[in-house]
Amino acid sequence: MTLRPLPASAPRVGATGIIAALLEQRTGQQLAANRAWRLDATLKPLLRERGLADFDALVGALLGARDPNLADAVVEALLNQETSFFRDAGVLEQVVEAASSMASEGGRPRIWSAGCSAGQEPLSLAMLFAERGGPMPDIQATDVSGAALARARSGRYSQFEVQRGLPIRRLMQWFDPVGEDWVGKPELVDRIRYRRQNLASDPVLPGKFDVILCRNVLLYFGGPTRARVLDALACALRPGGMLVLGAGETVIGQTDRLEPSRQWRGFYAISDRPRRYA
């Protein structure tokens, strides 16, 4: 692999700085200095598994490029994939209402869960749409992490995961027990189209979606990357479409192409008059 010069944001401390640069190069995610303490715990299993003594040995192995999967494994280990079923449930219910009312006549609502982690977000939406009745949506879900997508496609969750946010009646209706785990029924899991996509570098489908959810993904992007991704997400919305961010995230001050929706609280709509083109 080739390593470009460190971004200015990377902590300039030897091996840690190089690992941070790798993560940012691959995903746009910045290993903020205040999270560096987690690096040790996060990478320890990987170091042990590969028989590497410390970060210096790891960086040596990365630069030596003998193991083509090593860089991927480091990036996977560093991504924060924290999620749960029905995270901010009220927001998801509002997404289902908004998308159903916006879908072009007779058409299916088109939804994109960007940064879907192991699939809890798109599955929660699919359950809500199914329970609501009406046209079933087309749900696309993407993530940069191959490991997260593999888990999402399997539809298989641990007992702990199904007890985060998922009401017991929905567990009974939509999942089957398999060993210690629970597997989403095919009629639920097969409704989602999973695809690998890097928000920081891959192109988007223009003008396609009624609602895009990109929740708790942009937090650790650097400012310029975040602005670029928000512009790309705006471009992927159809006219009248909405972008939904995580609780406490905003577009304000990041892009002119989106503005708070007047109709749906907490959602963002394509701006009528982007200042930059005025």
């Binding site: 702990f160 007890q163 946010g165 017991i168 567990l171 009974m172």
Partner: protein, 121 residues
């Protein structure tokens, strides 16, 4: 402050649950079997009952049926919390009027999530 009655024949589980619940700002009472729990509810119904299944004297299921028939001033939410993790048990519990179901082992996040779902946290 919301109140929770922890019903379990295991002293250790009651202690763990109490610790978590107090951390979530619940006022906690304990009962070691269904009979004790029913007496406690009749005396003063809690907002929510965290309920083990297998207990001596009166099981969680018998307690739940009795509770749903009793005329109380307020109707507590009931969250089963048990190692009986099979779907037959879960369905039976829901049918008998349980509001939620925690499969042991549980941790703080699990309890908090389930209490949120029943509108208690």
């Amino acid at each position: 402050m919301k109140s929770c009655l922890v019903v379990d024949d295991s002293k250790v589980i009651r202690k763990v649950a109490r610790h978590i619940l107090e951390g979530l700002s619940f006022e906690v009472r304990e009962a070691a079997d269904g009979r004790e729990a029913l007496d406690a509810c009749l005396a003063s119904p809690p907002d929510v009952v965290l309920l083990d299944w297998n207990m001596p004297v009166m099981s969680g299921m018998d307690f739940l049926r009795a509770l749903r028939e009793a005329s109380l001033s307020a109707k507590p939410k009931v969250v089963f919390c048990t190692t009986e993790n099979g779907i037959a048990y879960i369905r039976a519990a829901i049918e008998a009027g349980a509001d939620e179901y925690v499969m042991k082992p549980f941790d703080r996040e699990t309890l908090q999530s389930k209490l949120q779902i029943v509108g208690m946290a």
